[in-house]
Amino acid sequence: MKKVIAIFQTESRLFMRDFFAFFFTFAFPVFMLLLYGSIYGNEPTPYFEGQGTMDVSVPAYAAMIIGVTGLMAFPLTISTYKEQKIYKRFDASPVGKGMIMAVQAAVNVSMTVIGFILLFVIGKLVYDIRIQGDWFTIALAMLLSIACIFSLGFFFTALSPSTKINNLLCYISYFVMIFLSGATMPKELFPDVIIKVSKFLPLTHVVNTLQGTFRNAPVGQYRDSLVVLAAVMVFCVAAGALLYKKKSWM
């Protein structure tokens, strides 16, 4: 346990020192909330079926946080450690790379949760956001969303022969998904063709699922998204594990 705690503390510190990860996990979603909140406020509107703009935006920004940690921070750390042979050094110690990777995943999940809490607290204090769903269902939806997007990041690291290619895959998928999934602006503003394209993006289904559970919508309204998230997760974990078996760690 002493080893796990030491690795967790160190990796958390390194996460906080990474400007990109820190800014986009903690500061940027709050900045978006405050910016759009100051423009639109959070009065109930028929446009969002009686919800306020910020009520709808908070779960979308939560999806943005999952995108940052799952598609940027976590996979970029894995590929850098692998390419620079940092895992190899840990593998020549009583700890091993498996434990390091598991703790890195735990650190990134923890940072995601801290990002959520920060977002909710500020949303509640500043705009009195209304969360109609029960917290247990919301927590399950978040866990499934995190598992899906982190699996996708893991799959990219397994697929990429180098850190450069991994970074390219992660950056492209992150920015495409952030702008086309409804995480930064409501999908209701998109033209039909973009809405059709966005259905192929896993983060769109994260947004659907989180928005559905936040407003306590019937499961039927986001069941397809749940299925997509589960399917992407299973595929990415299985394919990633197979690809990793063929990789050299030396």
């Binding site: 160190t10 510190r13 940092i86 020549a92 009583p94």
Partner: protein, 257 residues
């Protein structure tokens, strides 16, 4: 009679179609400094990585501290210290944080602050690892290898790329470490280093161990292999090594030497 800490018998290591190691055998005894020398591509690092348990050999037998190192890696790493040929650490980590992290991996680690002092790094404790010089990074990698209070220290090209002054400093550090009872396996390209530090050496060529023995025995061995006119009693280990090296043969044939 000194205790045998490691034994390698007829080791083979193949990567796809490439035979990196075809027949390597030697033993490592308690308290000695054993050097592994040979030209580039002779199989030194592959041999050492098999001994460290990082690679599973494709043939032969390895015993380290009485067990198979690949099968008992986590246990073995509590008793041996390793410095890899290429070692990087996370970008934004400080020296003291890295020391503290690695210390947590062992049940009874050596006091890392004392090691920092001993290796002349105490003033660098707050510095980011990426900002250390090459020599400082190498000393840090020795420090991490020493944390478990190892019975055996395995150093792969410890002083490659360092200036002569820093190399000399490293040699003195290694002598002190050996005096404290640690056995050292040293992979090196520097024959002056081997001559200064090693009790015995293993000479590898094309994946085979061609010689195992003391430095004096190596002199006799080479003397018996080379033409009498090439031999002088005053030859340094490096000059003797060059007489053995297949690359030197090529240069001689081409009329360069």
């Amino acid at each position: 009679m000194r205790e045998k800490l490691a034994q390698i018998e007829r080791l083979k290591m193949r990567y796809g179609t490439v035979n990196a190691v075809t027949d390597v055998s030697f033993e490592l005894y308690e308290g000695e400094i054993l050097a592994l020398i040979g030209p580039n591509g002779s199989g030194k690092t592959s041999t050492v990585e098999c001994l460290e348990g990082l690679r599973k050999p494709t043939g032969g037998k390895i015993e380290l501290l009485g067990c198979d190192p690949h099968e008992n890696r986590r246990q073995i790493y509590k008793e041996i210290g390793i410095q890899l040929q290429e070692t990087e650490y996370p970008d934004n980590i400080r020296v003291k944080e890295l020391c503290r992290l690695f210390s947590a991996f062992y049940d009874r680690p050596v006091n890392w602050q004392a090691l920092l002092e001993q290796l002349g790094l105490s003033e660098k404790a707050n510095r980011m690892v990426k900002k250390l010089s090459g020599g400082e990074k190498q000393r840090l990698s020795i420090l991490l290898a020493l944390l478990p209070h190892p019975k055996i220290l395995i150093l792969d090209e410890l002083t490659t790329g360092l200036d002569p002054e820093v190399r000399r400093g490293m040699w003195e550090s290694l002598k002190q470490i050996r005096q404290s009872g640690t056995t050292i396996l040293l992979v090196s390209h520097y024959l002056d280093e081997v001559e200064y530090l090693a009790d015995r050496l293993v000479y590898l060529e094309s994946g085979r161990s061609r010689f195992v023995g003391s430095l004096d025995e190596f002199r006799h061995f080479v003397r018996s292999k080379v033409p009498a006119e090439d031999w002088k009693e005053s030859l340094t280990l490096e000059e003797i090594y060059l007489l053995m090296s297949p690359k030197t043969e090529t240069l001689r044939w081409e009329g360069i030497l």
